[in-house]
């Protein structure tokens, strides 16, 4: 029997390395009819902010070749609604780890949001989404400048004792510099990638397809770029790396683990096949067995150069 368990440190042990990516899996509940949610390693629920957000205007979606661009804009009902209304429902998941993706537009908001989630027993960790624009500093994304990334992570670290994953944006010149800053600021792990800044135009009307002109690209098409970034970061930091970006099959997931990821997340592929997460779990187990490996850690970072 292969052991699929992975220990990400600071009391976060997943039954298997497969999680679902924030914003693509709702609160897990939306998928109950289609897959055994509790069998996944973890689910990372929707981006949650201190105050409710209506998100961007429609249209929020442009399909691209083997991918999509979204401009949802973090629509959510705020952390208090999450704690009161949604959290109690999530307690029914007893085997999978439910993590909350925390977003914000200033450091104070991130901190206040993380503090409230720290009080929830059934949530063993958060994923800090630092791809959001910092409204107090000209709207530049927290995750694009090492110092700014470090500041927000340090501030949240002070109030959040449980597992802290920091989710990186790929829209930077050097993911390694950012990852090192995040590690130095006390994160337990990093996850990457968030979506790539991109755009699409309707040539019939010569207008942008998205209401916001530009949006974030995800899906199969981004996988090779995400894989390269995960490999670079895994070679540069000591904390565990969670890899994502375009993963659509077990073999995609295995590539990320070979590149150095301790766990992976599946995003857009859930829209096409809502059972993909569990299929990837099985595929990883089969691969390990076929290669006489006893655990995921044997495969992790096993790239032969």
């Amino acid at each position: 029997m292969v052991d699929l368990k992975v220990n990400l440190g600071n009391n976060l042990v997943l039954n298997n390395p497969v999680m679902t990516a924030s914003g693509t899996f709702g609160y897990g509940l939306e998928y109950d009819d289609f897959t055994d949610v509790d069998r996944l390693g973890g689910i990372i629920v929707k981006g949650t902010t201190l105050n409710p957000r209506e998100g961007n205007a429609y249209p929020r979606l442009a399909e691209t070749r083997q991918g999509m661009i979204n401009a949802v804009g973090l629509q959510n009902k705020g952390v208090d609604h999450f704690c009161k209304v949604i959290y109690p429902e999530l307690k029914k998941y007893t085997k999978t780890k439910v993590l909350v993706n925390v977003s914000g537009s200033c450091i104070e908001d991130y901190v206040a949001c993380a503090e409230r989630i720290a009080a929830l027993d059934h949530i063993p960790g958060i994923e800090l989404n630092i791809s959001c624009p910092n409204v107090k500093q000209g709207g530049m994304s927290f995750g694009t400048v090492p110092e700014m990334a470090a500041k927000v992570v340090e501030a949240v670290r002070k109030v959040y004792p449980k597992h802290l994953i920091v989710k990186m944006t790929p829209n930077v010149t050097s993911v390694v510099d950012i990852a090192k800053a995040i590690e130095g600021a006390g994160a337990d792990s990093v996850s990457l990638v968030n979506t790539f800044l991109s755009m699409a135009i309707d040539i019939k009307t010569r207008r942008p397809i998205l209401s916001t002109i530009t949006g974030g690209m995800s899906g199969a098409a981004i996988k090779p770029i995400a894989l390269r970034m995960v490999w670079q970061v895994a070679n540069a930091v000591k904390i565990p790396v969670v890899g994502l970006g375009g993963i659509s099959s077990a073999s995609d997931a295995i590539e990320f683990i070979i590149a150095g990821a301790s766990a992976i997340e599946i995003g857009t592929a859930n829209f096409i096949n809502p059972n993909i997460g569990n299929e990837v779990v099985d595929g990883i187990a089969d691969y390990l067995a076929a290669n006489n490996m006893k655990s995921v850690s044997e495969l992790r970072g096993s790239l032969i150069i």
């Binding site: 914003g23 693509t24 899996f25 709702g26 939306e30 998928y31 009819d33 289609f34 209506e54 998100g55 205007a57 429609y58 249209p59 929020r60 979606l61 399909e63 691209t64 070749r65 083997q66 991918g67 999509m68 979204n70 949802v72 629509q75 899906g219 199969a220 857009t268 859930n270 829209f271 096409i272 096949n273 809502p274 059972n275």
Partner: protein, 261 residues
Amino acid sequence: MHKRYSTDFKVADIRTVNSSCYQLVLQHPDTLPEVAPGQFVQVQLPDSATSYLRRPISIHDADFKANTMTLLIRRVGNGTELLSHVKPGDTVNLLYPLGNGFNLDTKQIGNSPLLIGGGVGIAPLFMAAKHLKAVGANPTVLLGARNVEDLLKKDDFAAVTTTECTTEDASFGTKGFVTDHVYMKDELKRFTSIIVCGPMPMMRAIARVAEANNIPCQVSLENKMACGIGACLCCVTETIDGHNTCVCTGGPVFDSKSVKW
């Protein structure tokens, strides 16, 4: 929330309806569960380089004896083009039944609803008309298109209940838009409610007339979707409560007064 499924259907039949539309009959491997008029399915596309996400399509008809569902699809881009090449015996995976269907409770919508369809928007109305007829109501159907070629399924509707048509080029029925038909003018008072599915400008115009005449009106929206199950928040429409509401789970059918037009 009703139970939803992910099922591999087999293509039982595919046939051309007109130069741009085709009809797909899909066979459930076992017993087709309950599906309601106005609900839709998310169709997984055959593997391709050009198209990626599932496509939302209304349930046009369901046969619970034969365990089949029929979809009526208009070719508008790569996804609907790809689907038009499936062959009998091919497998097509569906997530279904999704969304809330029409409110067809005659205690609420009255005995004489007017069902208005524009273009391929007629698709979900067929099951609705059959259902209303079966419960003893007296539905009337009004179909609109550019020309007679684009007037889909008019004979099938006429076999179910009273059906009138409008065409922009006067090639069949009344000349003009559905809003030019006497049903939407002098005879509007005959109807206890309106149900409409079609292009946005048409639905907007009908919602306005319905509101001005104090007739309840249901619209079926066709926003772009990624997941179809309430997980991605891509498909929202602004409702009068000031919130962005998912069309896939809050709709696709809405009371016209709750939508910010």
